[in-house]
Amino acid sequence: MQAAAIQFTTGVGRILTGLVQDAGALAIFFASILGRLFTGLPRRRILAPILHEVGVRSVPVVLITGGFIGMVLAVQAHTQFKIMHMESRLGAIITMTLVSELGPVLAATMLAGRVGSAMAAELATMRVTEQISAISALGSDPVRYLVVPRFVACVLLIPLLTAFADAVGIFSGWAFSTQVLKINSYQYWAHAIDFVTAWDIMAGLMKSIFFGSSIAIIACHRGFHCDSGAEGVGRAATQSFVLSFIAILALDFLLTVLLNTSYYLIWPQAVSL
Protein backbone atom coordinates (compact mmCIF):
# COMPACT_ATOMS: atom_id res chain seq x y z
CA MET A 1 0.00 0.00 0.00
CA GLN A 2 2.76 2.39 1.03
CA ALA A 3 4.83 1.41 -2.01
CA ALA A 4 1.85 2.08 -4.31
CA ALA A 5 1.34 5.49 -2.71
CA ILE A 6 5.01 6.34 -3.20
CA GLN A 7 4.84 5.16 -6.80
CA PHE A 8 1.70 7.28 -7.42
CA THR A 9 3.26 10.37 -5.83
CA THR A 10 6.47 9.88 -7.80
CA GLY A 11 4.47 9.52 -11.02
CA VAL A 12 2.47 12.68 -10.36
CA GLY A 13 5.65 14.52 -9.41
CA ARG A 14 7.36 13.42 -12.59
CA ILE A 15 4.42 14.61 -14.73
CA LEU A 16 4.30 17.97 -12.94
CA THR A 17 8.07 18.42 -13.23
CA GLY A 18 7.83 17.61 -16.94
CA LEU A 19 5.03 20.15 -17.40
CA VAL A 20 6.97 22.86 -15.60
CA GLN A 21 10.10 22.06 -17.63
CA ASP A 22 8.14 22.17 -20.92
CA ALA A 23 6.49 25.46 -19.96
CA GLY A 24 9.88 26.89 -19.02
CA ALA A 25 11.43 25.70 -22.29
CA LEU A 26 8.57 27.30 -24.28
CA ALA A 27 8.94 30.55 -22.32
CA ILE A 28 12.70 30.66 -22.99
CA PHE A 29 12.09 29.89 -26.66
CA PHE A 30 9.48 32.68 -26.84
CA ALA A 31 11.88 35.10 -25.15
CA SER A 32 14.60 34.19 -27.68
CA ILE A 33 12.17 34.91 -30.54
CA LEU A 34 11.18 38.28 -29.04
CA GLY A 35 14.83 39.17 -28.43
CA ARG A 36 15.63 38.61 -32.10
CA LEU A 37 12.46 40.35 -33.27
CA PHE A 38 13.45 43.53 -31.46
CA THR A 39 16.96 43.51 -32.98
CA GLY A 40 15.89 43.20 -36.61
CA LEU A 41 12.88 42.23 -38.69
CA PRO A 42 13.11 39.27 -41.07
CA ARG A 43 14.16 40.06 -44.62
CA ARG A 44 11.51 40.22 -47.36
CA ARG A 45 13.26 37.46 -49.36
CA ILE A 46 12.81 35.05 -46.42
CA LEU A 47 9.44 36.31 -45.18
CA ALA A 48 7.54 36.44 -48.49
CA PRO A 49 7.37 32.66 -49.19
CA ILE A 50 6.35 31.99 -45.56
CA LEU A 51 3.59 34.63 -45.73
CA HIS A 52 2.39 32.94 -48.91
CA GLU A 53 2.45 29.51 -47.30
CA VAL A 54 0.72 30.58 -44.08
CA GLY A 55 -1.69 33.09 -45.58
CA VAL A 56 -2.60 32.46 -49.20
CA ARG A 57 -2.50 28.67 -49.02
CA SER A 58 -4.67 28.61 -45.88
CA VAL A 59 -7.51 30.55 -47.51
CA PRO A 60 -9.40 27.46 -48.80
CA VAL A 61 -9.29 25.78 -45.36
CA VAL A 62 -10.52 28.93 -43.65
CA LEU A 63 -13.20 29.46 -46.29
CA ILE A 64 -14.56 25.95 -45.82
CA THR A 65 -14.39 26.20 -42.01
CA GLY A 66 -16.11 29.60 -41.82
CA GLY A 67 -18.72 28.66 -44.40
CA PHE A 68 -19.86 25.52 -42.65
CA ILE A 69 -19.80 27.02 -39.14
CA GLY A 70 -22.15 29.81 -40.30
CA MET A 71 -24.62 27.34 -41.78
CA VAL A 72 -24.47 24.95 -38.81
CA LEU A 73 -25.10 27.87 -36.44
CA ALA A 74 -28.11 28.92 -38.52
CA VAL A 75 -29.62 25.43 -38.40
CA GLN A 76 -28.98 24.91 -34.66
CA ALA A 77 -30.08 28.36 -33.53
CA HIS A 78 -33.16 28.35 -35.76
CA THR A 79 -34.52 25.19 -34.09
CA GLN A 80 -34.24 26.79 -30.62
CA PHE A 81 -35.25 30.34 -31.61
CA LYS A 82 -38.33 29.13 -33.47
CA ILE A 83 -39.78 27.75 -30.22
CA MET A 84 -39.53 31.25 -28.73
CA HIS A 85 -40.65 32.95 -31.99
CA MET A 86 -37.33 34.76 -32.23
CA GLU A 87 -36.15 33.44 -35.64
CA SER A 88 -35.68 36.98 -36.89
CA ARG A 89 -32.79 37.35 -34.41
CA LEU A 90 -30.71 34.65 -36.08
CA GLY A 91 -28.32 37.27 -37.48
CA ALA A 92 -27.45 38.40 -33.95
CA ILE A 93 -26.60 34.98 -32.56
CA ILE A 94 -24.69 33.83 -35.66
CA THR A 95 -22.60 37.00 -35.88
CA MET A 96 -21.95 37.22 -32.15
CA THR A 97 -20.94 33.55 -31.83
CA LEU A 98 -18.71 33.76 -34.89
CA VAL A 99 -16.80 36.95 -34.13
CA SER A 100 -16.30 36.37 -30.42
CA GLU A 101 -15.87 32.63 -30.08
CA LEU A 102 -16.25 30.05 -32.81
CA GLY A 103 -14.54 31.99 -35.60
CA PRO A 104 -11.25 32.55 -33.74
CA VAL A 105 -11.19 29.11 -32.05
CA LEU A 106 -12.12 26.98 -35.06
CA ALA A 107 -10.00 28.97 -37.52
CA ALA A 108 -7.03 28.67 -35.14
CA THR A 109 -7.67 24.94 -34.68
CA MET A 110 -7.74 24.38 -38.43
CA LEU A 111 -4.58 26.48 -38.84
CA ALA A 112 -2.85 24.59 -36.02
CA GLY A 113 -3.48 21.47 -38.11
CA ARG A 114 -2.56 22.92 -41.48
CA VAL A 115 0.14 25.47 -40.70
CA GLY A 116 1.44 24.38 -37.27
CA SER A 117 1.89 20.70 -38.07
CA ALA A 118 3.52 21.52 -41.42
CA MET A 119 5.93 23.93 -39.71
CA ALA A 120 6.80 21.40 -37.01
CA ALA A 121 7.36 18.63 -39.58
CA GLU A 122 9.45 20.87 -41.83
CA LEU A 123 11.69 22.11 -39.01
CA ALA A 124 11.95 18.61 -37.52
CA THR A 125 13.06 17.24 -40.90
CA MET A 126 15.62 20.03 -41.12
CA ARG A 127 16.84 19.08 -37.66
CA VAL A 128 17.21 15.34 -38.30
CA THR A 129 18.96 15.97 -41.63
CA GLU A 130 21.30 18.46 -39.89
CA GLN A 131 20.09 21.40 -42.01
CA ILE A 132 19.59 23.46 -38.84
CA SER A 133 23.19 22.71 -37.78
CA ALA A 134 24.26 23.66 -41.32
CA ILE A 135 22.66 27.09 -40.89
CA SER A 136 24.71 27.57 -37.71
CA ALA A 137 27.83 26.25 -39.41
CA LEU A 138 27.38 28.83 -42.18
CA GLY A 139 27.45 31.64 -39.64
CA SER A 140 23.71 32.31 -39.51
CA ASP A 141 21.30 32.12 -36.58
CA PRO A 142 18.70 29.33 -37.10
CA VAL A 143 16.14 30.96 -34.78
CA ARG A 144 16.41 34.29 -36.61
CA TYR A 145 16.39 32.61 -40.03
CA LEU A 146 13.72 29.95 -39.49
CA VAL A 147 11.59 30.80 -36.45
CA VAL A 148 11.20 34.60 -36.44
CA PRO A 149 9.67 34.78 -39.96
CA ARG A 150 7.22 31.98 -39.10
CA PHE A 151 6.26 33.71 -35.86
CA VAL A 152 5.71 37.03 -37.66
CA ALA A 153 3.67 35.32 -40.38
CA CYS A 154 1.40 33.59 -37.84
CA VAL A 155 0.91 36.69 -35.67
CA LEU A 156 0.06 38.85 -38.69
CA LEU A 157 -1.94 36.44 -40.78
CA ILE A 158 -3.90 34.27 -38.37
CA PRO A 159 -6.01 37.28 -37.21
CA LEU A 160 -6.56 38.17 -40.88
CA LEU A 161 -7.58 34.62 -41.70
CA THR A 162 -9.86 34.62 -38.66
CA ALA A 163 -11.51 37.82 -39.88
CA PHE A 164 -11.95 36.13 -43.23
CA ALA A 165 -13.49 33.04 -41.58
CA ASP A 166 -15.84 35.31 -39.57
CA ALA A 167 -16.96 37.16 -42.69
CA VAL A 168 -17.49 33.99 -44.71
CA GLY A 169 -19.38 32.41 -41.76
CA ILE A 170 -21.66 35.45 -41.35
CA PHE A 171 -22.43 35.48 -45.07
CA SER A 172 -23.00 31.72 -45.29
CA GLY A 173 -25.28 31.98 -42.22
CA TRP A 174 -27.13 34.84 -43.90
CA ALA A 175 -27.46 32.90 -47.18
CA PHE A 176 -28.80 29.79 -45.42
CA SER A 177 -31.11 31.79 -43.14
CA THR A 178 -32.63 33.84 -45.95
CA GLN A 179 -32.71 31.24 -48.73
CA VAL A 180 -33.55 28.04 -46.81
CA LEU A 181 -35.02 29.17 -43.48
CA LYS A 182 -36.81 32.13 -45.11
CA ILE A 183 -35.65 34.73 -42.58
CA ASN A 184 -36.01 38.33 -43.67
CA SER A 185 -32.67 39.68 -44.91
CA TYR A 186 -33.17 43.17 -43.43
CA GLN A 187 -33.96 41.72 -39.98
CA TYR A 188 -30.92 39.42 -40.15
CA TRP A 189 -28.53 42.35 -40.70
CA ALA A 190 -30.39 44.78 -38.44
CA HIS A 191 -30.16 42.44 -35.44
CA ALA A 192 -26.57 41.51 -36.26
CA ILE A 193 -25.51 45.17 -36.30
CA ASP A 194 -27.58 45.97 -33.20
CA PHE A 195 -26.21 43.17 -31.07
CA VAL A 196 -22.53 42.95 -32.02
CA THR A 197 -20.26 45.76 -30.87
CA ALA A 198 -16.81 46.84 -32.01
CA TRP A 199 -15.51 45.45 -28.71
CA ASP A 200 -16.73 41.94 -29.63
CA ILE A 201 -14.99 42.08 -32.98
CA MET A 202 -11.79 43.43 -31.42
CA ALA A 203 -11.89 40.81 -28.62
CA GLY A 204 -12.19 38.00 -31.19
CA LEU A 205 -9.30 39.32 -33.24
CA MET A 206 -7.19 39.87 -30.13
CA LYS A 207 -7.74 36.23 -29.18
CA SER A 208 -6.60 35.17 -32.64
CA ILE A 209 -3.31 37.11 -32.21
CA PHE A 210 -2.61 35.03 -29.07
CA PHE A 211 -3.69 31.83 -30.84
CA GLY A 212 -1.42 32.65 -33.80
CA SER A 213 1.61 33.28 -31.62
CA SER A 214 1.03 30.13 -29.56
CA ILE A 215 0.72 28.02 -32.75
CA ALA A 216 4.01 29.42 -34.09
CA ILE A 217 5.90 29.07 -30.80
CA ILE A 218 4.73 25.50 -30.13
CA ALA A 219 5.22 24.30 -33.73
CA CYS A 220 8.71 25.79 -34.06
CA HIS A 221 9.75 24.58 -30.60
CA ARG A 222 8.60 21.03 -31.32
CA GLY A 223 10.36 21.09 -34.69
CA PHE A 224 13.60 22.40 -33.20
CA HIS A 225 13.63 19.87 -30.37
CA CYS A 226 12.37 16.71 -32.07
CA ASP A 227 13.79 13.23 -31.56
CA SER A 228 15.85 11.60 -34.29
CA GLY A 229 14.49 9.77 -37.32
CA ALA A 230 11.18 9.65 -39.15
CA GLU A 231 9.41 8.74 -35.90
CA GLY A 232 10.73 11.92 -34.27
CA VAL A 233 9.42 14.03 -37.17
CA GLY A 234 5.98 12.43 -36.98
CA ARG A 235 5.85 12.87 -33.22
CA ALA A 236 6.85 16.54 -33.51
CA ALA A 237 3.97 17.19 -35.94
CA THR A 238 1.44 15.38 -33.73
CA GLN A 239 2.66 17.01 -30.52
CA SER A 240 2.57 20.39 -32.21
CA PHE A 241 -1.13 19.99 -33.09
CA VAL A 242 -2.18 18.52 -29.73
CA LEU A 243 -0.30 21.12 -27.66
CA SER A 244 -1.50 23.96 -29.88
CA PHE A 245 -5.10 22.77 -29.51
CA ILE A 246 -4.78 22.63 -25.72
CA ALA A 247 -3.13 26.07 -25.73
CA ILE A 248 -5.93 27.50 -27.89
CA LEU A 249 -8.63 26.18 -25.54
CA ALA A 250 -6.81 27.31 -22.39
CA LEU A 251 -6.02 30.74 -23.84
CA ASP A 252 -9.60 31.08 -25.05
CA PHE A 253 -10.90 30.54 -21.53
CA LEU A 254 -8.37 32.88 -19.92
CA LEU A 255 -8.81 35.63 -22.51
CA THR A 256 -12.62 35.40 -22.39
CA VAL A 257 -12.57 35.86 -18.62
CA LEU A 258 -10.02 38.67 -18.89
CA LEU A 259 -11.80 40.50 -21.71
CA ASN A 260 -15.23 40.20 -20.10
CA THR A 261 -13.85 41.50 -16.80
CA SER A 262 -12.15 44.38 -18.62
CA TYR A 263 -15.38 45.19 -20.48
CA TYR A 264 -17.39 45.56 -17.27
CA LEU A 265 -14.58 47.52 -15.64
CA ILE A 266 -14.53 49.99 -18.53
CA TRP A 267 -18.33 50.15 -18.96
CA PRO A 268 -19.79 49.30 -15.53
CA GLN A 269 -23.27 50.40 -16.63
CA ALA A 270 -23.37 47.79 -19.42
CA VAL A 271 -26.04 45.13 -19.02
CA SER A 272 -24.62 41.72 -18.21
CA LEU A 273 -25.73 38.80 -20.32
Binding site: T125, M126, T129, E130, Q131, S133, A134, I135, S136, A137, L138, G139, S140, Y145
Partner: protein, 274 residues
Amino acid sequence: MSDATLTAAIQLEHIFCRFRYQEVLRDLNITIRRAESLAIIGESGCGKSVTMKIMMQLLHPTAGGVSWFGRDATQLSKRDWQATRLKFGYLFQGAALFDSLNIFENVAFGLQESGSFTDEQIHQIVMQRLDDVGLSSDVAEKHPSELSGGMQKRVGLARALALDPEVMFYDEPTTGLDPITSRRIDDLIDSVKHQHNVSSIVVTHDMRTVERVADRVVMLAPCHQLGPEDPQIIFEGSVDDLFNTTDPQISEFVNGGVLKSLGEAHTTQNHSAA
Protein backbone atom coordinates in the same frame (compact mmCIF):
# COMPACT_ATOMS: atom_id res chain seq x y z
CA MET B 1 51.01 31.26 -24.07
CA SER B 2 52.56 27.94 -25.11
CA ASP B 3 53.95 27.23 -28.62
CA ALA B 4 51.20 24.69 -29.13
CA THR B 5 48.57 27.35 -28.48
CA LEU B 6 50.25 29.80 -30.85
CA THR B 7 50.36 27.35 -33.73
CA ALA B 8 47.06 25.67 -32.96
CA ALA B 9 44.01 26.27 -35.11
CA ILE B 10 41.80 24.49 -32.59
CA GLN B 11 42.55 23.15 -29.15
CA LEU B 12 40.35 21.01 -26.92
CA GLU B 13 41.34 20.92 -23.25
CA HIS B 14 39.92 18.46 -20.76
CA ILE B 15 36.64 18.08 -22.61
CA PHE B 16 33.90 16.08 -20.91
CA CYS B 17 30.54 15.52 -22.54
CA ARG B 18 27.51 13.67 -21.22
CA PHE B 19 24.02 13.31 -22.69
CA ARG B 20 21.67 12.65 -19.76
CA TYR B 21 23.13 9.47 -18.23
CA GLN B 22 25.39 8.58 -21.16
CA GLU B 23 29.04 9.55 -20.96
CA VAL B 24 30.28 10.41 -24.46
CA LEU B 25 33.59 12.19 -24.01
CA ARG B 26 36.03 11.90 -21.12
CA ASP B 27 38.92 14.27 -20.50
CA LEU B 28 39.71 14.76 -24.16
CA ASN B 29 42.75 16.82 -25.14
CA ILE B 30 43.29 17.38 -28.86
CA THR B 31 45.24 20.07 -30.71
CA ILE B 32 44.91 20.71 -34.43
CA ARG B 33 47.81 22.65 -35.83
CA ARG B 34 47.45 25.10 -38.70
CA ALA B 35 47.43 23.49 -42.17
CA GLU B 36 47.42 20.04 -40.59
CA SER B 37 45.09 17.16 -41.47
CA LEU B 38 43.81 15.22 -38.50
CA ALA B 39 41.71 12.08 -38.84
CA ILE B 40 39.52 11.05 -35.91
CA ILE B 41 38.63 7.38 -36.02
CA GLY B 42 36.96 4.88 -33.72
CA GLU B 43 33.97 2.61 -33.33
CA SER B 44 30.44 3.89 -33.86
CA GLY B 45 29.25 5.73 -30.77
CA CYS B 46 32.72 6.67 -29.51
CA GLY B 47 31.98 10.39 -29.85
CA LYS B 48 33.87 11.32 -33.03
CA SER B 49 31.14 13.53 -34.50
CA VAL B 50 30.39 15.01 -31.06
CA THR B 51 34.08 15.92 -30.74
CA MET B 52 33.99 17.69 -34.08
CA LYS B 53 30.76 19.54 -33.26
CA ILE B 54 32.28 20.67 -29.96
CA MET B 55 35.35 21.92 -31.84
CA MET B 56 33.06 24.09 -33.94
CA GLN B 57 30.79 24.95 -30.96
CA LEU B 58 27.75 23.43 -32.64
CA LEU B 59 27.51 21.50 -29.36
CA HIS B 60 28.69 22.67 -25.95
CA PRO B 61 30.68 20.34 -23.72
CA THR B 62 29.65 19.50 -20.15
CA ALA B 63 33.09 20.67 -19.03
CA GLY B 64 36.38 21.73 -20.59
CA GLY B 65 37.72 24.45 -22.86
CA VAL B 66 37.75 25.07 -26.61
CA SER B 67 40.29 27.46 -28.12
CA TRP B 68 40.11 28.89 -31.63
CA PHE B 69 43.41 30.24 -32.99
CA GLY B 70 44.76 30.54 -29.46
CA ARG B 71 41.71 32.31 -27.95
CA ASP B 72 39.15 30.79 -25.60
CA ALA B 73 36.03 30.40 -27.77
CA THR B 74 33.69 30.90 -24.81
CA GLN B 75 35.31 34.24 -23.88
CA LEU B 76 35.02 35.82 -27.34
CA SER B 77 32.62 38.72 -27.88
CA LYS B 78 29.59 37.87 -30.04
CA ARG B 79 31.09 39.70 -33.01
CA ASP B 80 34.50 37.99 -32.68
CA TRP B 81 32.83 34.63 -32.14
CA GLN B 82 30.80 35.00 -35.35
CA ALA B 83 33.78 36.33 -37.31
CA THR B 84 35.93 33.38 -36.19
CA ARG B 85 33.17 30.88 -36.89
CA LEU B 86 33.10 32.07 -40.50
CA LYS B 87 36.68 30.78 -40.79
CA PHE B 88 35.33 27.24 -40.38
CA GLY B 89 33.72 25.11 -43.04
CA TYR B 90 31.73 21.97 -42.26
CA LEU B 91 30.86 19.13 -44.60
CA PHE B 92 28.01 17.19 -42.98
CA GLN B 93 27.65 13.42 -43.21
CA GLY B 94 24.51 13.64 -45.35
CA ALA B 95 25.65 16.94 -46.96
CA ALA B 96 22.72 18.70 -45.16
CA LEU B 97 21.76 20.70 -48.23
CA PHE B 98 18.68 22.90 -47.86
CA ASP B 99 15.84 21.06 -49.66
CA SER B 100 13.88 24.20 -50.41
CA LEU B 101 16.78 25.97 -52.12
CA ASN B 102 18.43 25.14 -55.42
CA ILE B 103 22.14 24.35 -55.70
CA PHE B 104 23.13 27.95 -56.46
CA GLU B 105 21.19 29.21 -53.44
CA ASN B 106 22.68 26.48 -51.25
CA VAL B 107 26.24 27.41 -52.13
CA ALA B 108 25.42 31.13 -51.94
CA PHE B 109 23.73 30.83 -48.51
CA GLY B 110 26.69 31.74 -46.31
CA LEU B 111 27.77 34.53 -48.67
CA GLN B 112 24.28 36.07 -48.71
CA GLU B 113 23.86 35.76 -44.95
CA SER B 114 27.23 37.43 -44.29
CA GLY B 115 25.96 40.53 -46.12
CA SER B 116 29.49 41.37 -47.30
CA PHE B 117 29.15 40.49 -50.98
CA THR B 118 27.35 41.96 -53.98
CA ASP B 119 25.11 39.74 -56.13
CA GLU B 120 27.75 39.75 -58.86
CA GLN B 121 30.50 38.65 -56.45
CA ILE B 122 28.24 35.93 -55.05
CA HIS B 123 27.53 34.62 -58.55
CA GLN B 124 31.22 34.57 -59.38
CA ILE B 125 32.23 32.81 -56.13
CA VAL B 126 29.47 30.19 -56.39
CA MET B 127 30.40 29.28 -59.96
CA GLN B 128 34.08 29.12 -59.01
CA ARG B 129 33.39 26.83 -56.04
CA LEU B 130 31.16 24.53 -58.12
CA ASP B 131 33.99 24.33 -60.64
CA ASP B 132 36.52 23.64 -57.86
CA VAL B 133 34.56 20.55 -56.78
CA GLY B 134 34.16 19.33 -60.36
CA LEU B 135 30.53 20.31 -60.94
CA SER B 136 29.36 22.13 -64.05
CA SER B 137 27.25 25.28 -63.93
CA ASP B 138 24.29 23.19 -65.23
CA VAL B 139 23.61 21.88 -61.71
CA ALA B 140 23.14 25.40 -60.30
CA GLU B 141 19.42 25.51 -61.04
CA LYS B 142 18.73 21.96 -59.84
CA HIS B 143 17.45 21.02 -56.41
CA PRO B 144 19.35 18.68 -54.03
CA SER B 145 16.84 15.85 -54.60
CA GLU B 146 17.83 15.78 -58.28
CA LEU B 147 21.49 14.97 -57.50
CA SER B 148 23.26 11.73 -56.57
CA GLY B 149 24.78 11.26 -53.08
CA GLY B 150 28.29 11.97 -54.39
CA MET B 151 27.18 15.15 -56.16
CA GLN B 152 25.36 16.29 -53.01
CA LYS B 153 28.59 15.81 -51.04
CA ARG B 154 30.44 17.92 -53.60
CA VAL B 155 27.81 20.66 -53.37
CA GLY B 156 28.12 20.47 -49.57
CA LEU B 157 31.88 20.90 -49.98
CA ALA B 158 31.42 23.82 -52.40
CA ARG B 159 29.07 25.45 -49.87
CA ALA B 160 31.54 24.94 -47.03
CA LEU B 161 34.38 26.39 -49.13
CA ALA B 162 32.41 29.42 -50.33
CA LEU B 163 33.58 31.61 -47.45
CA ASP B 164 37.26 30.58 -47.82
CA PRO B 165 37.56 28.75 -44.51
CA GLU B 166 40.85 28.30 -42.67
CA VAL B 167 39.64 25.08 -41.02
CA MET B 168 37.54 22.40 -42.71
CA PHE B 169 35.55 19.76 -40.84
CA TYR B 170 34.53 16.62 -42.69
CA ASP B 171 31.98 14.35 -40.99
CA GLU B 172 32.22 10.89 -42.56
CA PRO B 173 32.84 12.35 -46.03
CA THR B 174 32.84 9.02 -47.87
CA THR B 175 30.16 7.10 -45.95
CA GLY B 176 27.57 5.60 -48.27
CA LEU B 177 29.56 6.34 -51.41
CA ASP B 178 31.04 3.83 -53.83
CA PRO B 179 34.87 3.54 -53.83
CA ILE B 180 35.31 5.54 -57.03
CA THR B 181 33.26 8.46 -55.72
CA SER B 182 34.99 8.07 -52.34
CA ARG B 183 38.32 8.40 -54.08
CA ARG B 184 37.15 11.59 -55.81
CA ILE B 185 35.98 13.05 -52.49
CA ASP B 186 39.34 12.12 -50.88
CA ASP B 187 41.18 13.82 -53.76
CA LEU B 188 39.01 16.89 -53.27
CA ILE B 189 39.79 16.98 -49.53
CA ASP B 190 43.47 16.70 -50.35
CA SER B 191 43.36 19.39 -53.04
CA VAL B 192 41.37 21.73 -50.75
CA LYS B 193 44.06 21.30 -48.13
CA HIS B 194 46.88 22.10 -50.52
CA GLN B 195 45.19 24.79 -52.63
CA HIS B 196 43.64 26.71 -49.76
CA ASN B 197 46.19 25.77 -47.06
CA VAL B 198 43.46 24.82 -44.60
CA SER B 199 43.54 22.67 -41.48
CA SER B 200 41.34 19.60 -41.97
CA ILE B 201 39.60 17.49 -39.37
CA VAL B 202 38.17 14.30 -40.85
CA VAL B 203 35.91 11.95 -38.92
CA THR B 204 35.79 8.65 -40.75
CA HIS B 205 35.55 4.85 -40.60
CA ASP B 206 37.21 4.54 -43.98
CA MET B 207 40.88 3.61 -43.60
CA ARG B 208 41.57 4.46 -47.24
CA THR B 209 40.43 8.00 -46.56
CA VAL B 210 42.72 8.09 -43.51
CA GLU B 211 45.63 6.87 -45.65
CA ARG B 212 44.98 9.40 -48.40
CA VAL B 213 44.23 12.58 -46.49
CA ALA B 214 45.53 12.45 -42.90
CA ASP B 215 48.83 13.71 -41.49
CA ARG B 216 47.97 12.56 -37.99
CA VAL B 217 45.38 10.21 -36.51
CA VAL B 218 43.51 10.14 -33.20
CA MET B 219 41.56 7.02 -32.27
CA LEU B 220 38.84 7.18 -29.63
CA ALA B 221 37.25 4.36 -27.65
CA PRO B 222 33.62 4.39 -26.51
CA CYS B 223 33.43 5.46 -22.84
CA HIS B 224 31.34 2.44 -21.85
CA GLN B 225 34.23 0.15 -22.85
CA LEU B 226 36.75 2.01 -20.70
CA GLY B 227 37.79 1.44 -17.10
CA PRO B 228 37.36 4.33 -14.63
CA GLU B 229 40.91 5.62 -15.13
CA ASP B 230 41.43 4.71 -18.81
CA PRO B 231 42.06 7.55 -21.29
CA GLN B 232 39.57 7.83 -24.15
CA ILE B 233 42.26 8.43 -26.77
CA ILE B 234 43.71 4.98 -27.42
CA PHE B 235 45.95 6.02 -30.29
CA GLU B 236 47.55 9.29 -31.38
CA GLY B 237 50.24 9.39 -34.04
CA SER B 238 51.08 9.33 -37.73
CA VAL B 239 49.27 7.24 -40.36
CA ASP B 240 52.33 4.97 -40.70
CA ASP B 241 52.36 4.35 -36.96
CA LEU B 242 48.66 3.49 -37.09
CA PHE B 243 49.06 0.91 -39.82
CA ASN B 244 52.15 -0.60 -38.14
CA THR B 245 50.72 -0.78 -34.65
CA THR B 246 50.96 -4.01 -32.70
CA ASP B 247 48.05 -3.19 -30.39
CA PRO B 248 45.45 -5.88 -31.17
CA GLN B 249 42.42 -3.65 -30.56
CA ILE B 250 43.68 -0.89 -32.86
CA SER B 251 45.03 -3.31 -35.42
CA GLU B 252 41.70 -5.17 -35.61
CA PHE B 253 39.83 -1.89 -36.23
CA VAL B 254 42.36 -0.69 -38.81
CA ASN B 255 42.61 -3.96 -40.71
CA GLY B 256 38.86 -4.44 -40.61
CA GLY B 257 38.45 -1.02 -42.15
CA VAL B 258 41.07 -1.67 -44.84
CA LEU B 259 39.60 -5.07 -45.72
CA LYS B 260 36.12 -3.56 -45.95
CA SER B 261 37.44 -0.83 -48.26
CA LEU B 262 39.25 -3.39 -50.41
CA GLY B 263 36.12 -5.54 -50.57
CA GLU B 264 34.05 -2.58 -51.75
CA ALA B 265 36.66 -1.70 -54.38
CA HIS B 266 36.74 -5.30 -55.61
CA THR B 267 32.94 -5.44 -55.88
CA THR B 268 32.87 -2.19 -57.84
CA GLN B 269 35.57 -3.45 -60.23
CA ASN B 270 33.54 -6.62 -60.84
CA HIS B 271 30.42 -4.55 -61.52
CA SER B 272 32.38 -2.33 -63.91
CA ALA B 273 33.78 -5.37 -65.74
CA ALA B 274 30.31 -6.93 -65.97
